[in-house]
Assembly symmetry: C2
Homo-oligomer: 226 residues x 2
Amino acid sequence: MTPRPAGTSAPSTAGPSTTEGTSGVHTEPASAAVRTRSQHQRRKRIVQAAAALASRGGVEAMQMRTVAERAGVALGTLYRYFPSKMDLVVAVVGEEIDLLESSIERRPPSAGTPAGRAVDILMRATRGLMREPELADALIRSLIMAEVDTPFGDRMTDLLLRVAGNGITAETATDEQFALAGSLSSVWVHELLEMLRGRRTHEQIQRRVEIAAARLLADFPVPPST
Amino acid sequence: MTPRPAGTSAPSTAGPSTTEGTSGVHTEPASAAVRTRSQHQRRKRIVQAAAALASRGGVEAMQMRTVAERAGVALGTLYRYFPSKMDLVVAVVGEEIDLLESSIERRPPSAGTPAGRAVDILMRATRGLMREPELADALIRSLIMAEVDTPFGDRMTDLLLRVAGNGITAETATDEQFALAGSLSSVWVHELLEMLRGRRTHEQIQRRVEIAAARLLADFPVPPST
DNA sequence: CGAAAAAGTAGAACAGATTCTATTATTTGT
DNA sequence: ACAAATAATAGAATCTGTTCTACTTTTTCG
């Protein structure tokens, strides 16, 4: 699941990566205990508000002031939780990826070859993202722009490794396999970008991803049988 | 409200491309004729100023006000030539790519395999870009972000096709070869980004590009001999 | 040449992200 | 329960991209 201590509501500290380097511990006892009446899921409310706004007009519509307002917190508070707009975007993306992961758990790719399975989840992710083009655009772009680590590419690479590689994990994978899965992931991201730019159709992406996957994952382990 | 009629009469002389989609002709008589005394290479001065600033502190340092000042033009004029900061960035990039191309002409890759040649030019490009990390960062990121066509990925793909594919061109290439070259190009761009984020060393990039190229360009035509 | 068009200029104005301030809750430790 | 610490809040202020205004200088051309 989410490697993120999400539940913890410590504003500044912890957090989803964020630009902050601070890795300090925070002294927040609760995780479920309702603070006073309706206090403390501020983080969740913020992310929701942000996602909602982004689904509409993309990042532009997701203005910090507006998000704060809509989430019912002060601008300053918003900035306490998310030091920059980017951090907020990353949080929103996190949720999207969670969704994809659970979808995969629910209905794992069935193709017989590693490449086939990889294409399966990549296209599923594509469809999922494309359901909210504005949001997708905003998110993908922002992530690529991010100064620092964003869980996106890495999580996707991991997913590919696990699903396509028949149980390989970041641990057990060889350096080369890791590199290959990573390459496929970046090809996909790039195609996604092109689609957002209106230069690719769904079919074209599928074709290209298939072509790349077939080469890149050619010698990934095939599952024993079924 | 208004979609800038940009192409119209703009000083957007010829063109290192820029974001402008307008391929229209411009009514600019001169191209070399010195206007009055020192007028008209304003564009060049602007791009130079921009590049210089970007080489220092990256995009942030390349503030429109500062660029204008340094180029000795009014802010309004700067915006007449480059409707947005992005356009300016694209122009700067254009020059960088030109540099790479001429470097390749001067000393074409010598490796015997398509993959080898591809790696050669990609690493050469990497080194070239890394000479000015701030600039590279600014440029790469901006280009990826660009709403519209930017000559970057395409020009690189083309280059790869020509150089690695032993004379193949966008014309003669099969759909698949085109896709494969494109994939390699996106892998490279992604690695470059990771390097800029400080998550890759030169060697790691080389390794990963080699791994990807070996798979992706496996069945590209090999030169007759030599 | 002389007027209309095009290009420049200085600088104000606007917008949205981020920062800062002063003040008011809440929480926590004891 | 109470003082110190922490979290929030409203809102002003700052910064930088972009737009707009009012003029001045060049260029184009009949």
